[in-house]
């Protein structure tokens, strides 16, 4: 009896304390449950041992974002809970989704490939969900293959290619030698590059597919010099998504020309050389937490959790329709440490964001490059603007 009244008194005092500290947010805590779903990856063959394989790309970014959301939540009475599901290589993501995520979560950070993402997005259970895609770069997912319950946090290939093209146009590297690898991803990037070349009035004067070996000794000594004996060009643009030969091109081409694309000067949402606009704080905070550099998927997952946190804080709700409406509204502006407010394109769910152009040890430029103008926002000079988009969202 005594105990009970003591407990009551304590909880009363606690409530009193909370309400004096935060009079505006004295209500009960609002819980927001978020699932993180990814699948274990096979360790890819690597060109060198310089870059160790990173196992938990994405997850660490989500964790940092949740921590930031909860710091805000301490003041606003919101609790963000992240539950992680990493499916084994031989596991079935649909099973995990249906069994562990469906009916339990409305917000899911998805770190999977394009095919897997759309498989999940089309499941009946995903109807009343919002999926945050932190991995795919596919242009099709922002066009014909778009889904109205998916938001994309990383720049797609067209945005990257446009960023590179803007820079090349500025440098007047108008004549491109396009070198394409053999993977489907390489062909997709090549398509995006061709679209950008056309868009910005550049010329692809040579185009070749890499047909030589991936053996470093043979490739570097003879193959590249022979392979690159083509008509004169300003810049070699390479599409080698998996890094199978692209790193060997620099310093070995027949003519002395810069390398740009997936190797050399690359286009990325985030890069370890990036320090401006408060990015240094982000880099430091991430490294303190994860013990490694922030990768793109980490950045995407960080932005996903921060976007959700921002929407919850502003709408004072965890309801899907309100959150989604806020995220797609003009009021939504997210800081991404890249010098411009980030927002979602309300025609394809793609995050509107600057693209960094980075050399291995220095940040070269940030696109949109100055001088590329747009009536609404310069960020829409990258990728598919509203008029170009083939995305037609079917109402859920």
């Amino acid at each position: 009896m005594m105990r009970k009244s003591n407990r009551l008194l304590i909880s009363f005092l606690y409530l009193l304390l909370i309400s004096t500290l935060h009079p505006a947010y004295a209500k009960a805590k609002l819980n927001i449950n978020i699932a993180y779903l990814s699948q274990e990856q096979k360790i890819p063959l690597q060109l060198s041992n310089l870059d160790p394989f990173v196992k938990n790309k994405g997850l660490k970014g989500a964790e940092l974002g949740i921590a930031d959301d909860n710091t805000t939540g301490e003041f606003t009475g919101q609790q963000f809970n992240l539950v992680t599901f990493v499916v084994p290589i031989e596991g079935n993501i649909v099973d995990t989704f249906n069994k562990d995520i469906a009916n339990k979560f409305q917000y899911v950070i998805v770190n999977l490939n394009a095919e897997q993402l759309n498989t999940l997005a089309d499941l009946p259970a995903a109807k009343n969900m919002l999926l945050f895609d932190v991995a795919t770069l596919d242009d099709a997912l922002r066009n014909e293959q778009c889904r109205s319950n998916v938001l994309h946090l990383l720049p797609n290939r067209a945005m990257r290619a446009d960023a590179l093209a803007q820079y090349m146009l500025k440098k007047r590297w108008n004549k491109w030698f396009l070198v394409i690898g053999n993977s489907p991803e390489d062909r997709l990037y090549a398509e995006a590059l061709k679209r950008s070349a056309k868009r910005f009035g550049m010329k692809i004067v040579n185009e070749k597919t890499w047909e030589h070996t991936y053996d470093a000794r043979k490739t570097t000594q003879s193959d590249i010099a022979v392979f690159t004996q083509v008509d004169d060009y300003d810049v070699l643009v390479v599409a080698d998504d998996h890094g199978e030969f692209g790193e060997y091109l620099d310093y070995r081409t027949w003519l002395a020309r810069p390398i740009i694309g997936t190797q050399g000067l690359i286009a990325s949402a985030w890069h370890k050389t990036h320090e401006q606009w408060g990015a240094i704080q982000m880099q430091n905070r991430f490294k303190d937490k994860a013990g490694r550099w922030m990768e793109e998927q980490d950045y995407g997952a960080y932005l996903a959790t921060r976007a959700l946190g921002e929407a919850v804080t502003r709408s004072l709700s965890n309801q899907l329709n309100l959150i989604k409406a806020y995220l797609l509204s003009p009021a939504f502006a997210l800081n991404g440490y890249t010098g411009a407010p980030l927002s979602f394109r309300n025609w394809d769910g793609q995050l509107r964001m600057p693209v960094l152009l980075a050399a291995p040890r220095s940040l070269v430029a940030v696109a949109p490059i100055e001088g590329f103008l747009h009536p609404k926002t310069e960020l829409d000079t990258l990728g598919f603007d509203q008029a170009e988009s083939h995305c037609q969202w079917t109402p859920q």
Binding site: L21, H22, P23, A24, Y25, D68, T71, T72, F75, T76, G278, Q281, N284, R285, D288, R306, E310, T313, R314, A333, L334, N335, G339, A340, P341, H374, P375, K376, T377, E378, L379
Partner: protein, 321 residues
């Protein structure tokens, strides 16, 4: 009669000489130095090495001491405002950027961005006396002229923390537009102005109840909204006008501080950052981070009269009469 005239002439001359003695101090983030500018002559007088990556700067109420956050030295240096000798250092915590000096000049409040803290420093004892937990990435910080409030703005949490200066505890939290940067009280301590970089807005709050009075947005023809990123905000003593540095829009907005309407937009240097009035409030000085200069705005005519090259990445600015 003659005596009187000559006396007033002498006073006039004295005032004039006082005016020309005015010095503007600008921290140069990339030069690791402090620029000393004579704004009347429109000249850079000298550049003094000051420490690694100097950013935030304040001057003591008696104008004898400068406090400069040298971020990469992880300290706030105390510098003699005449000889520029280093007199001591304050335990600011890691990577200090912005800080606030209270009106009495005996407390410094530092934003520690990396660990979401505000450090309270006893200036005389050169000791940190308290750390206050705030939101993620605290940046803008200020003390009200009546010393009632310390306000800290968290850039990532998008929140203002209203801290009682007597108890050093948070009394109230206010959500504001995305990425708040600078916070400034009006001279009567009745209003707090806060700039939000990502929303491109300035919010004016009633300091008595922390409620929003108005959100001011900016429109500049030929410049998209993304580029309008407000940073520094100052309000004149009479609360006639406020001035807002618009960052990469390369402009300063002139706001009628009574009606809260934008009156004029002035073109200054690139990535205009921080602002300071001359002691007589006849001029406004701006630091222009990307064009490595400062602009002088004549406030009577509301025109930019001069730009002076000061060094690379000019950041903070204070004025000594």
């Amino acid at each position: 009669m003659i005596k009187k005239t000559s006396l007033s002439l002498a006073i006039g001359l004295l005032c004039l000489s006082n005016v020309s003695a005015e010095s503007v101090f600008v921290t140069l983030e990339n030069d690791n130095a402090l620029a000393v500018v004579d704004p009347i002559a429109g000249k850079l007088i000298k550049t003094i090495p000051i420490g690694q990556r100097p950013r935030g700067i304040a001057i003591s109420p008696d104008y004898k001491l400068l406090y400069i956050a040298t971020s990469d030295d992880n300290t706030i240096k105390i510098i003699d405002a005449v000889t520029f000798k280093e007199l001591g250092q304050l335990p600011s915590g890691k990577d200090p950027e912005t800080f606030a000096l209270n009106p009495a000049g005996n407390r410094i409040y530092v934003s520690n961005e990396d660990n979401s803290m505000v450090t309270v420093i006893d200036v005389a004892k050169k000791k940190a006396i308290k750390q206050i937990k705030v939101g993620v990435e605290p940046e803008g910080i200020t003390v009200s002229p009546d010393n009632r409030w310390l306000v800290s703005a968290s850039e990532t949490t998008n929140m203002l923390h209203w801290i009682d200066t007597k108890t050093n505890t948070i009394i109230e939290n206010t959500l504001v537009d995305p990425r708040p940067r600078a916070v400034s009280f009006t001279a009567d301590s009745q209003q707090l102005w806060v700039s939000s970089e990502m929303a491109g807005s300035v919010m004016v709050l009633d300091a008595n109840n922390q409620q929003l009075i108005k959100t001011i947005k900016f429109e500049i023809s030929g410049i998209t909204a993304d580029k309008i990123q407000p940073v520094g905000v100052v309000i004149d003593k009479e609360r006639h006008r406020a001035y807002v540095a618009l960052g990469p829009a390369n402009r300063v907005a002139v706001i009628n501080a009574q009606t809260l309407e934008v009156e004029k937009i002035l073109l200054v240097g690139q990535r205009v950052w921080n602002l300071a009035f001359s002691p007589d409030q006849k001029r406004l000085y701006t630091t222009n981070g990307s064009s490595n200069d400062m602009s002088i705005i004549d406030l009577d005519s509301q025109t930019v009269t001069k730009s002076i090259g000061v060094g690379t990445y000019p950041w903070g600015v204070v004025v000594k009469p």
